[in-house]
Amino acid sequence: MAGATSYEPEQSGSVDAAYDPNYVPDSVKSFVVHMYRHIREKNVYEIHQMYETSFQSISDRFFKDAPWPSVDAVAPYVDNDHVFCLLYREMWFRHLYARLSPTLKQRIDSWDNYCSLFQVVLHGVVNMQLPNQWLWDMVDEFVYQFQSFCQYRAKMKSKTEQEIALLRQFDQAWNVYGVLNFLQALVEKSTIIQILEQEKEGLEQFTSTDGYDYSGGSNVLKVLGYFSMIGLLRVHCLLGDYHTGLKCLLPIDISQQGVYTSVIGSHITIIYHYGFANLMLRRYVEAIREFNKILLYIFKTKQYHQKSPQFEQILKKNEQMYALLAVSLSLCPQVKLVDEAVNTQLREKYGEKMSRMQRYDDEAFALYDELFSYACPKFITPSAPSYEEPLVNYNQDAYRLQLKLFLYEVKQQQLLSGVRTFLKVYSTISLAKLATYMEVEEPTLRTILMSYKHKTHAVDSDGKISSNADLDFYIDDDMVHVVESKPTKRYGDYFMRQIVKLEGLMTDIDRIKLDI
């Protein structure tokens, strides 16, 4: 109640325990009234401003450690508009999750709100134009809250009887089928896959308008459907289903700009999970390439995001991706694929660890463990617990399994760096000689060499084999011939970029002439 009589909002930043959900400060009144108006007028620019800036600054001032006013309290200022209230609650919960810790009841209520919101969107009754940033945040937050719920539920030991009763009663809340089916329904109902197909043939515009609809329609379902594909990728990665995750992403061509690059959060999420999935599938070159690209992008554009509410998250994912890049490069030393700027950062952060990881001793395994654990997604167990005694925590199970299998893969590769060292210094060497140097029998050497071939050759989802090796070889009877793969410079790309640049420049010059 402290703020109720105060007319100095600057001071009410210190909210005390007496949070009154029904008290609406003037700035919140003004916020919802304006936001509501901009939404009705489809003024995307203003909505975006309020969403990104005003919401943050009001939160910082009034609601640093308290929730926003309840939806019932603000509803009268927005004609009790049903959809607006759903959107308001979505932000309300998001703010609560970010700054406080939600109770079980609140988690369940948030789930209900997402259900209502998505149902409204799926039934096509939403006729709004919302900023991509906001729509991305919805999908992102939906998946985050699902993950958070699974982690929460898995800590059974500390649950009260009342909480367990609630969990049993609302067993549909954040149910994994419900979560996946909502994302899938958004993808399907939006026909986004067909839209992207048609766009390739020039029959439809989506990417070129950043997903917005300038002919009076709504972008909400379409763009939510688009981002839901990324949501599905992430959920599947959280479940350890990397193959299916990548399959969900197929309609989006990540070799090109797209709507996903219009929001930094979605850009990072897509590449982080894409790279991680490829790392787990042993497609190291693919992982390295994409990590390199996004890390370079972040390196160059970081300063523009400093004020963004996502800045901290950007930095965290940035660090995690350097760790994953260090892991990928340790297993597949293709440093040539990494840009100079990224490489410098990488050496600074992990140079010393990476040289120790090459040794494949116990200390090296500990480092693989450390980097993986730091940088991996927060894996979840999706099934409901047994509520019978004794209650056990299982929140670490999924993570431990993925870690164990990953380290198993690392162990299988431990002999390979030894071979590599020798292959580096010889152009030809007999099997017998190499076996002596490596202190193994010849038949064992043959298996090591074949294993090297197997592990350095990735299989893509169509079964196509491609080499990840910078150092390759073949055996002719009992002679090993080493072939160092030269980096193939892609002159084609370079020239095409220059052609496009030149054309742009010429158009500009033409325009200048006309002005004079």
Binding site: D241, H243, M450, K453, Y474, I475, D476, V483, E503
Partner: protein, 238 residues
């Protein structure tokens, strides 16, 4: 609300099965539906008997098991894993393990399969065949198992070798005597193998050239610009 969606999907699905959709279609229409679990289990058995394979369908089933562990059949899981071994060099076996809870992986039959996978992953074919022989009772139920592993072995050998002593080949594919003679002859007739007689060392087998055992062949495919790439800039130039 989630339930509602499930139900509408389920009813769609019932329609689907009355008009007899294939399992593959069921999955693509409706990948997150617990009701298709029995269909998927039957489909695993069908893959075994008809010597076909669908990673997507099997991952879909493992996912449903992951969501409802009480419905898991370890016999079906074992079959999926053996089929995944047969898909080497693809990483399918790991893909499946990622979805199988650790306590299940501790069961004896799964431990065996994990060891077998380890030998294949590290190209230790001698040990693999020894272990496989000891566990014949698990593997015999899956027709085509040996042949599939032999295909993998040959694949890996032909990535590695231009020329290989006959004995090394024999060990990797676990075939000897007249059967080996026939195996080699089949490949000479159908897969472009040639045989070189070498007085001092016995027979050498020459594998057909590919970009992996003749790395110099690779270059031509990487250079150059794809047509698709060029078409992208045509509108600008025109």
């Amino acid at each position: 609300m989630g339930r509602e969606i499930n139900n509408t999907m389920a009813s769609q699905n019932q329609q689907a099965s009355t008009t007899s959709y294939t399992v593959e279609q069921l999955i693509s229409v409706n990948p997150y539906n617990p009701d298709i679990l029995p269909d998927l289990e039957n489909y695993v058995n069908e893959q075994v008997s008809s010597e076909t394979y669908s990673l997507n369908a099997n991952l879909c089933l493992l996912r449903l098991y992951q969501f409802e562990p009480e419905r898991m059949s370890t016999q079906i899981v074992a079959r999926i894993l053996i089929k995944a071994l047969m898909a080497m060099p693809a990483p399918d076996f790991s893909l499946c393990l990622f979805l199988i809870p650790e306590r299940v992986q501790m069961e004896e039959q799964f431990k065996t399969l994990i060891v077998l996978s380890h030998y294949l992953e590290t190209a230790r074919f001698r040990q693999f065949w020894d272990e496989a022989t000891k566990n014949r009772h698990i593997l015999e139920a899956i027709p085509g198992f040996e042949q599939a592993i032999q295909v993998y072995a040959v694949h890996l050998l032909s990535l590695t070798y231009q020329k290989i002593p006959r004995s090394v080949l024999a060990e990797a594919i676990n075939i000897e005597g007249p059967s080996l003679e026939k195996f080699v002859q089949d490949h000479v007739d159908n897969s472009g193998w040639t045989i070189e007689k070498n007085l001092s060392k016995g027979q050498l087998i020459i594998f057909p050239q590919n970009e992996f055992n003749h790395p110099e062949l690779k270059k031509s495919s990487v250079d150059g610009v794809s047509l698709e790439h060029i078409t992208r800039i045509l509108p600008i130039i025109g």
